[in-house]
Amino acid sequence: MEEQFAEFRAELDETGSVYEQLRIIAANLDSFIRLMQAALMPIHHCSFPQVKEKVKGYMSDLCGLYAQLAHVIKDKPGQYYRYHDLWRNQTSTVVFVLAFLHWLDTGGLLTHTETEALLNLDPAVFGIDLEDYLIGLCSFSNELPRYVVNRVTAGDYNCPKEVSTFLGDLYTAFRTLNLRNDHLRKRFDGIKYDLKKVEEVLYDVKIRGLLNGPSLQATATGNESNVATSHQ
């Protein structure tokens, strides 16, 4: 009996230590992501290229932290979900930051697979849970009304139209999901308030005949080539 319990003791001690390792990495991840988010926020008042460079500068360290998580989990096959709660919130925030950046850059939606690729993750070992990804998209949506308000204040009158189209598509896409009455459903419900606010700004701009006006000025500064140009 003694031998057997010696093994049990080893196993229990081991589990406790894995938990502790992951807890520490997740805490580092938490601090780090706050920095990234802080680097992204000036987008409300600064030019995009400046912000983009700063945020992208964090990517390799971020991948490093995820690699640490994946490394620990790799040795414990099948235990991703045993410890999943430790990095849920952080991952959603990462998705928020990367999806915002990607949209600023391309005007398109960062996909689930692209997110994993950006983070150098092998989904077979350590992927991004789908719900975490979708919640990240909701956070991204929540930031857009403020972005639109500030862009218009800065004289970019075409921004509301673009955001309204994008957000409308996202809302329509989300509506095709059959969500249970859970956290994700609540977060999704919030998107329509974002869309409503953006629509109100678009209305303000239209009613005043400002639409398409300032874009001429924008042209003057030579930023016409793609969607992202208006975010500079």
Partner: protein, 251 residues
């Protein structure tokens, strides 16, 4: 000890015979409850899908999407609500109430939401039960939804209408919000005049939620109204006209 265990065996059979009857009764009740619960969960899930489908309606797909929702709702009724009905004898409805109430409430929510989208009116309990009267229970009496389940379902309708009002405004259909507002005000008034009965569990909490939804709808109408005042009506129409078509196509 031998003697003892012998006694035990003998006695066991005496008691167990009585208990076999009890076991049969309990099993019958539990199995029936389990079947009703499952049917009710299916009613809930499929009704929720109808509601989701209604939220996907926009000006462009309105005709077809409404018809689809109607067909779906009819399927819920003729497939899953029927399963509930077929389990019940007339005098058993209260016995299994907790097993099927959630489903019926969600069904009422879906049916009344659809009716509002079609006609702008409240689907009454009489109308609803008339549409169900072809569903017979075990004793061949027509199946019907109780006042309590109807009221709780209609209370939830308010939340869906709030969503419709806000996404309506988000899609530039400001008239939806105004129609919803008057309707929900009338509903809330009706509810607030009801006596406070112990029979309908959870009503006070639902009334609170209803008021919260109503206030959100009122705030939306307020915003629409206030915004509309800054420029003369015709100027607004001009500015938005071709855009509206645009937003139809998008949605």
């Amino acid at each position: 000890s031998n003697n003892n265990s012998g006694t035990v065996s003998k006695r066991e059979s005496v008691f167990c015979q009585q208990f076999q009857q009890y076991a049969q009764q309990l099993d019958a009740v539990n199995e029936k409850r389990e079947r009703i619960v499952k049917a009710s969960r299916d009613v809930t899930t499929s009704s929720k899908k109808v509601i989701f489908q209604i939220h996907r309606i926009n000006r462009a797909n309105r005709g077809a999407a409404l018809q689809q929702a109607e067909r779906d709702l009819h399927a819920v009724q003729s497939i899953h609500v029927r399963r509930v009905a077929q389990e019940l004898k007339a005098n058993e409805t209260w016995k299994y109430k907790r097993a099927f109430s959630p489903g019926m409430q969600e069904f009422v929510e879906a049916a009344t939401t659809l009716e509002f989208c079609k006609t702008g009116k409240l689907l009454t309990l009489q109308q609803l039960n008339a549409s169900l009267s072809h569903l017979k229970d075990v004793s061949d009496a027509p199946f019907s939804i109780s006042t309590g389940d109807y009221l709780l379902g209609v209370a939830d309708l308010t939340g869906e209408l709030m969503r419709l009002a806000i996404s309506g405004v988000a899609a530039g259909q400001r008239e939806v919000a105004i129609a919803v507002c008057g309707f929900v005000q009338a509903l809330y008034k009706g509810f607030s005049q009801l006596p406070n009965t112990v029979d309908i569990r959870g009503m006070p909490k639902k009334m609170d939620l209803m008021l919260q939804s109503l206030i959100k709808i009122e705030n939306t109408c307020y915003a629409v109204h206030v915004r509309g005042l800054e420029y003369p009506e015709d100027m607004i129409v001009n500015a938005l006209e071709h855009e509206e078509i645009d937003s139809d196509q998008e949605a």
